[in-house]
Amino acid sequence: MIQAKELTKKYGSQTVLDLPELIIPKGESFGLVGNNGAGKTTFFSLLLDLIQPTTGGIDNNGVLVQQSEAWKPFTAAFIDESFLIGYLTPEEYFYFIGELRGQSRAEVDALMHSFEDFFHGEILNQKKYLRDLSKGNQKKVGITATFIGNPEVIILDEPFANLDPTTQIRLKGIIKELTQNREITALISSHDLVHVTEVCERIVVLDKGAVVRDIQTSPETLKELEDFFAG
């Protein structure tokens, strides 16, 4: 369970995030939507202890992230390309993450094998360093790396952006499969309302740092969201 309490983040006098209380139960697939500057990435950065909250804190499965680092072993995230190491090949990057998460090479290889469809033959054995891959392919590497080492919490910021349609569809399949036994908590932000309503069972809409909608996904959700953003 992830719990944010009295969580605010201010830059000067500007409040970029203000969450009196937000609870994400274990195993939930949680979608975060909102326009640019709504506070999505800020929330994720706070959850990963990359920035400090102005007030309050976040509890990740019993670990207060602002105080202890014990959340790291069971949390995996891909926010942007600053989570990739440009001078490694994709394989080396996967092994590196694997070694940090106590996975053997064979285990990493087996996991990557299961993503061959998703990679579409453009990732493995390409003799390219990550920095030379296209944006979309870099993203594929970053997203798959978060699945290494059986994390309990997976955080993906805008995973669908920059991906081609085939890959988007495959990614949706992967996320659904991952969350169906309700063991992994997945936090996904997106600008694409269609995708996010499809994979997430709960959607929270942020606007200027505050929660303005908190919806359990139903067939009407997409319409509701579209109306909200149109207005």
Binding site: L50, K72, I79
Partner: protein, 489 residues
């Protein structure tokens, strides 16, 4: 058309973030530039008399003899440091500007580089001295102009050979072999090249040949760029073939091995870090300045030199930990990584490099065992004390590093903040002080031993030191993250 280009250049210069730097650094830079100008000038003025007094022969001939090395060194420095003109072309491609003018502007701009006009500070005074002596004025001028054309030729050669590691490094090896051969008198390449430079003087018209050569390389580079002005050709960022490597022998070190593997890849696969390693090798020769010449009478300078000679990598690489990982620092901070392991791997890297430097510095035994002792003592102090201090200081540096370019490889304004400056006191001044005390009370050897002892004591407190450094890193974490992000934005 050129008016537009000029305006763009003007803005890019005055609006660059490095321009808005602090005053202290600007003053420092001015001093550095003045220093180099003075060195060049005094060499230019003094060279004639130094050579004459040393009885080496006709100064002009002597300069001509070694000119080939000067030219090649110049080319080498350019290759390492001079920025390529292509970088700013991309945005101009889509605009209604003739390609020819873009190319001639970009190439023309390189002529104004420091690498071209700095040589004038040597050659102009040298030529003037020649004119005041018994040399034929017209011939001196032809020689001077001929040589200048060669330096400009270097400018364009560099443009043509840049990014061609395959040509460049073998060439460097050939040159090193030639240099060593000359030193030991096996083979003297200058007997073949000196007559060429002599000819500029002896037969004035030959200077025209070097100008023709210059015209040729200008034409070649113009054509090369004109032809390759496509995003997927000349303007494409060079891609290296990626090789998946596994340093299995490092696996036995567990998590530490994981980081070491990464650090080795970091150094090997990025231009910036490779340059740093090369520079750190140059530090090996730093001692030559101190162990020979006027400093001989000051043993305290030996300690100073010992620390620099063995600590090249420590100072050049170490001072930028953790900035080497700046482009993926958020990953490091959210992955399952403990600071201690991360820092240990960097520390071991520094220690190993210091040991290698100390080993490579064996040739200083030639100057006597006391000289090498100074280096050994310096190495012990570097390992025992300075290794922590650079890691500690690094936490405050917070300069993001772009691994793929050599930009700023030679110093950075932000590295000069108050805290890092304060930390140089224990790095350099404290060992000198310790030595001085030992030297005063007992003798020189005791001074050395005391510096070494300080190193050994420091080494013994490794765990304690690491705990402190870890605290600093944790405290600085958020500031560091946001500083690294600024560059990305």
């Amino acid at each position: 058309m050129f008016k537009h280009f000029f305006k763009l250049q003007w803005k890019s210069f005055f609006r660059s973030s490095s321009f808005a730097t602090n005053l202290a650094f600007k003053i420092l830079m001015v001093f550095v530039v003045i220093y180099f100008i003075v060195v060049f000038l005094s060499l230019g003025i003094g060279a004639y008399f130094i050579i004459e007094n040393a009885g080496l022969g006709d100064p002009l001939r002597v300069v001509n003899r070694f000119l080939i090395y000067y030219l090649v060194m110049d080319l080498y420095m350019r290759y390492m440091l001079q920025k390529m003109p292509v970088t700013n072309i991309r945005p101009l491609l889509y605009l209604p500007i003739k390609k020819n003018s873009v190319v001639s502007y970009s190439l023309g701009k390189t002529v104004l580089s420091f690498f071209n006009w700095s040589h004038a500070f040597f050659f102009i005074p040298f030529s003037i001295i020649l004119l005041t002596k018994d040399y034929t004025p017209l011939q001196v001028i032809s020689w001077h102009l001929g040589i200048m054309a060669l330096f400009l030729t270097n400018n364009f050669l560099n443009i043509l050979i840049n990014n061609q590691d395959r040509v460049f490094y073998p060439l460097l090896v050939v040159l090193a072999v030639l240099g060593i051969s000359q030193y030991y008198g096996w083979f003297d390449v200058t007997t073949y090249t000196a007559p060429i430079f002599d000819a500029f003087y002896d037969l004035s018209w030959t200077a025209l040949i070097s100008w023709m050569l210059l015209a040729m390389v200008i034409w070649a580079s113009f054509r090369y760029f004109r032809r390759h002005m496509y995003l997927d050709a000349g303007l494409a960022l060079k891609k290296q073939e990626g090789k998946t490597e596994d340093y299995v022998w490092l696996n036995r070190f567990g998590n530490l091995g994981t980081f070491l593997k990464n650090d080795i890849k970091l150094i090997r696969r990025n231009k910036r870090s490779r340059t740093t390693v090369i520079v750190s090798l140059l530090f090996l020769f730093y001692g030559l300045i101190f162990f020979t010449g006027p400093y001989e009478k000051f043993p305290i300078a030996y300690v100073f030199a010992g620390i620099f000679t063995s600590g090249g990598f420590l100072f050049t690489f170490g001072q930028y930990v953790p900035s080497w990982d700046s482009s993926y620092y958020p990953l490091m901070m959210s992955q399952n990584i403990r600071y201690k392991e991360y820092l240990s791997s960097k520390w071991y890297l520094i220690i190993i490099a210091t040991l290698i430097s100390t080993f490579l510095a064996v040739f200083y035994l030639y100057f006597g065992w006391k000289t090498y002792l100074a280096i050994l003592v310096g190495a012990i102090y570097n390992i025992g004390v300075n290794s922590y201090l650079v890691l500690w200081g690094g936490a405050y540096v917070k300069t993001p590093i772009d691994l793929t370019t050599n930009k700023k490889a030679f110093g950075d304004k932000q590295a000069f903040n108050g805290k890092t400056l304060l930390l140089t006191i224990p790095k350099l001044i404290l060992p000198l002080l310790i030595f001085w005390i030992g030297d005063r009370i007992w003798n020189q050897t005791a001074g050395y031993l005391m510096v070494a002892l300080a190193g050994v004591i420091g080494f013994a407190f490794k765990d304690l030191a690491f705990k402190q450094i870890e605290k600093v890193y944790k405290k600085e974490k958020y500031k560091t993250l946001s500083a690294y992000r600024e560059k990305a934005a």
